[in-house]
């Protein structure tokens, strides 16, 4: 099987990538601004929703239940979708999905495809596969267009081009759309996109989308969007191909009452996003006459098999965890080397690879827990991060790296108070080479990362337990003295 998650397998470690990105002042300003705006908006619309916690609980339970019966629900969806005139395909991995999709496009004689935003297509590397097969994909989401035309990578789940400012976008559009003049106000840029794409929407015969929800009872699909390009791609072409991870299925149409309240508030801080589209199979005489769904595994069934971390598959791709993450806020999405960035990316990316790649991602977190607090489907991300760190440690080829040796030694020390106190004494002695003018100026190895930016006091002369011992001794002695003197008095 060839699992692919964009180009994450070849990405540098989080630490390496973060170090470079922290120097990009424009990026940091943009990321900070974007995440501030959305988190503030989110706080307002969540604050006014008195049953927010009940909605989260219901969503989490629905997802949990669905995953426990995933095969049944997928089969149900398949049957209903086919009965409504759709076709359903199954893909084990990225390559298979690409083969199926390209095969379909060729079957319908298409050379161009208009695409609605879907990260799943980035995951499998669809655009690259399209181009290698002589098919031109046109991204129609404004941000995805900015990313595509700028030959760039997305840096956020919901606002993929947040790392670009207006001047940068203007340059990209002028070059790609052939404008000799273009204003740099967001209105100008949006208008340019509107005109450029209108033609495509009306001409291109094959549309491609993802799915926010697959409805098992009806065989229907729900797409949640803001710009209207989704509606264009879902309604105007003659052929529609929808790619969806197998975890997108929910039991019934009714369950939308929960998710449509959680998703817009979490993703963009709105009570409801501008457009939600629902369709079932192929509707006679209206909309696409040929409809195909491609159900994608690409590592999801392996995540399902891990009881500790299958909750990762609850994710509804809202991006709230990214917006609230104090680590993401500093670096933006590119540091994660994956289209799935931030807290969810840190657990999803390596797991799709069965931990073979992206092993630095579970450590790209201070475990502050802010993500868990905002996750609409209650994924306990810190818990999963810790679990995945355990997998990284256990699955290490050799335990002979410095960290493992150090940690194992410390564990032995902690197993006995005698050894612990000996280590404390050793620390007092061993620290002197590093102490200067009453401060620890530098530490060896990875610990040097501490002293690189922080001062550190040397170990206090007396540990707590030694103070305690002395105090006990002194009070025992004075108790002894007192009893002796009372004896004397009474004798």
């Amino acid at each position: 099987m060839s699992i692919r998650v964009g180009e994450a397998a070849e990405a540098p470690s989080f630490q390496k990538a973060a170090f470079k990105l922290l120097d990009d002042a424009q990026l940091r300003k943009n990321v900070r601004h974007a995440t501030d705006v959305i988190t503030n908006k989110r706080a307002i619309v969540v604050g006014e929703q008195h049953d927010w916690q009940q909605l989260r609980s219901a969503a989490s339970a629905i997802k949990q239940h669905t995953l426990a019966h995933l095969d049944e629900y997928l089969l149900k969806f398949e049957g209903a979708c086919i009965a409504a005139g759709g076709h359903v395909h199954w893909a084990s991995d990225a390559d298979e999905a690409n083969r199926i999709i390209i095969g379909l496009v060729k079957q319908y004689g298409g050379k161009e495809v208009i695409k609605v935003k879907t990260m799943t297509s980035d995951e499998i590397g669809l655009n690259k596969a399209f181009e290698a097969n002589g098919i031109r994909p046109h991204e129609t989401d404004l941000a995805d267009m900015i990313v595509q035309l700028g030959h760039d990578k997305p840096s956020h789940i919901v606002v993929p081009a947040l790392h670009k400012n207006r001047q940068q976008v203007r340059e990209i559009f002028m070059q790609a759309m052939g404008f000799s003049e273009l204003g740099d106000k967001p209105e100008d840029l949006t208008n340019a996109a509107r005109q450029y794409l209108r033609k495509k929407f009306l001409e291109v015969k094959i549309g491609f989308s993802g799915a926010n929800y697959l409805l098992a009872d009806t065989g229907g699909v729900c797409v949640v969007e803001s710009e209207g390009n989704g509606r264009m791609c879902l309604t105007l072409p003659n052929v529609l191909i929808t790619l969806a991870g197998i975890e997108k299925v929910i039991p019934s149409f009714r369950d939308l009452e929960v998710f449509l309240q959680l998703l817009p508030r979490s993703a963009t801080g709105e009570r409801m996003n501008p457009y939600n589209s629902l369709w079932t199979g192929a509707h006679k005489g209206e909309g696409p006459q040929y409809f195909h769904v491609v159900l994608l595994d690409n590592g999801r069934t392996r995540i399902l098999a891990d009881p500790e971390s299958r909750q990762t598959l609850h994710c509804i791709r809202c991006g709230a965890c990214l917006n609230t993450c104090p680590v993401y806020r500093q670096t933006g999405g590119h540091a994660y080397g994956s289209i799935y960035a931030g807290p969810i990316g840190a657990i999803l990316t390596p797991q799709l690879f069965d931990m073979q790649h992206s092993q630095s991602l579970p450590y790209a977190s201070s475990l502050c827990g802010a993500c868990y607090e905002v996750c609409p489907v209650k994924i306990n991300i810190p818990e999963v991060l810790i679990h995945l760190r355990g997998r990284v440690v256990r699955e290490q080829q050799s335990g002979a790296n410095l960290e493992a040796i150090g940690m194992k030694a410390m564990a032995r020390i902690f197993l006995s108070s005698r050894r612990f106190e000996a280590a404390q004494r050793l620390g007092h002695i061993g620290q002197w080479p590093f102490v200067s003018e009453g401060w620890v100026k530098h530490l060896p190895g990875m610990l040097g990362n501490w002293t690189a930016v922080r001062d550190l006091r040397p170990l206090p002369k007396q540990s707590f337990r030694n103070w305690w011992r002395e105090r006990e001794k002194a009070s025992a002695k004075s108790a002894q003295d007192r009893s002796r003197s009372t004896k004397n008095l009474s004798s």
Binding site: H65, A143, M232, V258, E270, M272, N273, G287, T301
Partner: protein, 210 residues
């Protein structure tokens, strides 16, 4: 497709294996103690609906059943429009005289693309979120630059769950939830209205109860 069939079995088997020892609970035991019915009185619900639309810069006019046609005329005239494309099920008696109306099914995509105004009804509307839900009429309510939507007061519910319950009988039809004009905040988080889809939304709220 033989490959896909084998894949199908392989995926299903992997799922079954993964779930072999998973504790499960029935769908009907899922606790749903979020709000599912209205708590506000009707006037407040209608006011909330209008407020939400105003937040989206949608124009809201009120009418009674017998003044609906005149109100539609008012809206069209205010924007210097002599014609509009209307949804197939739009009632003839609510169309004002002196304008040219064409049904969606009689219009080509190209025509709808250049038309200024579309007029449709709706199936249900949600006050809390300012949402109007349309059944069908997907191209009509997408291509022209202005959409005029007629909402009857008894179509307005307070909450999302109430709306979903009303839509249950239409759940396999194409449905579109509209909550304001299209928008993007992709450039520097500045919210821009009307990327694709109608840039202007007008609503006539028809009061047919006292």
């Amino acid at each position: 497709m033989p490959e896909s069939t084998n894949t199908r079995e392989a995926i299903l088997n992997r799922i079954r294996e993964a779930n072999a020892t998973t504790p499960s609970f029935e769908y009907r035991t899922i606790e749903r103690n979020y709000q599912q019915t209205a708590t506000l009185d009707r006037e407040t619900i209608l006011k909330t609906f209008a407020d939400r639309l105003h937040e989206y810069d949608a124009q809201v006019l009120e009418a009674k059943p017998d003044t609906l046609a005149a109100t539609i005329a008012k809206v069209l005239l205010a924007h210097n429009q002599k014609s509009a494309i209307i949804s197939d099920d739009f009632s003839q008696k609510n169309l004002p005289e002196g304008f040219t109306f064409q049904r969606e099914s009689e219009s080509t995509t190209e025509h709808m693309n250049t038309a200024e105004y579309a007029i449709s009804g709706c199936e249900v509307a949600i006050a809390h979120t300012g949402t109007i839900i349309l059944r069908g009429a997907r191209k009509l309510t997408l291509l022209p630059d202005r959409l005029l939507c007629i909402v009857y007061e008894n179509q307005i519910v307070e909450t999302v769950p109430e709306a979903i319950a009303r839509l249950e009988q239409f759940k396999t039809e194409p449905l579109t939830f509209v909550s304001g004009p299209s928008a993007t905040a992709d450039i520097e988080m500045t919210r821009i209205r009307g990327v694709h889809g109608p840039r202007f939304l007008d609503v006539v709220l028809v009061r047919n109860q006292h």
